[in-house]
Amino acid sequence: MPGDEVSAMKADLPSPMFDTTEMVLNMGPQHPSTHGVLRIVLKLDGERVVDADVVVGYLHRGIEKLSENRDWTQIILLTDRMDYVAAASTNLGYCETVEKLMSVEVPRRARYIRTILNELQRVASHCLWLGTHAMDIGAMTVFLYAFRERELILDLFEEYCGARLTYNSMRVGGLPLDIPPGWDRKVNEFCDIMDSKLTEYETLLTHNRIWLERTKDVGVIDGPEAIALGLCGPTLRGSGVGRDVRKDEPYAAYDEFDFDVPIGTRGDTYDRYLVRIEEFRQSLRIIRQAMDGLPEGPIVGKVPRLIKPPAGETYHAVESPKGEIGFFIASDGRSTNPYRFRVRAPSFCNLQGLPRLVRGHLVADVVALIGSIDIVLGEVDR
């Protein structure tokens, strides 16, 4: 950012008591609270952040480029490794994009199961977010509680597809597997457990004075500015913008369910926290509805054995736990590889907002804010 702007901003800041020269503090890439290998170069005035420079790329594996040399089914494996805490959402986004390119009809049962998986994934991802966010702010018990519940979801996924982290749980045109017997009962049981546990988390945090002091009015950003910075997902909704792909451009079976999109009012860390806590509830609501109304039928649509979409390009987005994850795919219609593969990663977009959010706050708020925008470096760097 231009120098004069920095100095103008410094003039606004209350001056700290002792003068030290502006200090540059390197946070990361090995720092416990950056949720991975993120590096932030902080310019500090005392303990106050004057400016922050986010350095990404430490986890870059070239997934987008790799994808141009894999066939369409193999790419699903790669998408697992982008947002590794919400692999099913990424799977879904990719598969739906290809289906859109190929104009394949997905059977209703498959769409239902996809929705269930996706929402379970959202709950799991939010559990991880809640635990680490609270941990960053020093509430370590919540961390372990949240992971305890996440473990239940991982068990469900393991039972469904055999994997606990990188599920590879979707196929173009449908699903690889039908749900195992008894799985639906377990999901319902989980929903009940989760409801009571949510109350537990909220008891620990929502009205805790320290939690309020740490999160209220920290990193305030209003709706228009959030949109201008390209924020998405709960981070955007915390600022009062009711954008949710599930509602605005329904995919999978979302148009058949009844759910609300929670939004915040002030756009501070506390609002983003509340929005995600409410999303837990809405996800459970969707899962219950889907389990109740799960239709019978095939789980795979009519897809050729060799997937070769017609020439053309398309963009399709789904709502991952982190935000709007979009896939742009171009096919030349001849080869079995995509011609061009590009991902709009929500974590990456949200990370753009970080320097804006942390400016003027203290170092301790930086970790709170990193937690509050909920990033996964695998997705940021791809």
Binding site: S15, P16, M17, F18, D19, T20, T21
Partner: protein, 171 residues
């Protein structure tokens, strides 16, 4: 006997650390020696039967003032060694000589004038003196010396405000 040993030991340590304070290059080390020096002086106070003062010495001097020094030493984050530039006109040697001379004279006066009376410093203290040390000081502070005491508190207030004003970056 034991008292003499303790005294000489303490005196030697006090003077030794004092010399270290003013002779060490590294300012932080210098501050550390100062702390040790103050603690030793506090022990001297205990020997003299002034436990309250000893505690105050540790609390205020060692625990407060010197911490302040330490803060300042750390904040004054020097880019170049502080003692490079030397003004040729500072008569350091003369100062040293004078200080030595005055010390000699003072010692002469003290020793010479004290030979007559010889009041033992460690005279068995009266019971009241040792036991009610804190109480006695408190009584004096709040009766005879009430006004100086209040003035001292105002002085501290002024110093506090002054320090805050000085340390603020812009007035």
């Amino acid at each position: 006997m034991a008292e003499a040993f303790v005294f000489y030991g303490l005196a030697a340590l006090i003077l030794g650390f004092a010399v270290l304070v003013i002779s060490t290059r590294n300012t932080v080390h210098s501050v550390l020696y100062l702390v040790v020096n103050f603690l030793l002086v506090a022990m001297l106070y205990v020997m003299l039967g002034a436990e309250f003062l000893a505690a105050i010495q540790v609390l205020v001097y060692a625990g407060g003032i010197v911490v302040l020094y330490l803060f300042v030493v750390m904040l004054v984050n020097l880019k170049r060694p502080p003692e490079t530039h030397q003004d040729p006109r500072r008569q350091t040697r003369l100062g040293l000589a004078l200080a030595g001379a005055v010390l000699a004279e003072l010692v002469a006066i003290i020793v010479y004038s004290s030979t007559g009376e010889s009041v033992p410093a460690a005279a068995p203290a009266e019971a009241g003196m040792v036991e009610g040390n804190v109480e006695q000081i408190g009584m004096l502070l709040y009766t005879n010396y009430l006004i100086p005491f209040e003035v001292a508190s105002v002085l501290l207030l002024v110093a506090m405000i002054g320090a805050i004003v000085l340390a603020k970056r812009e007035l």
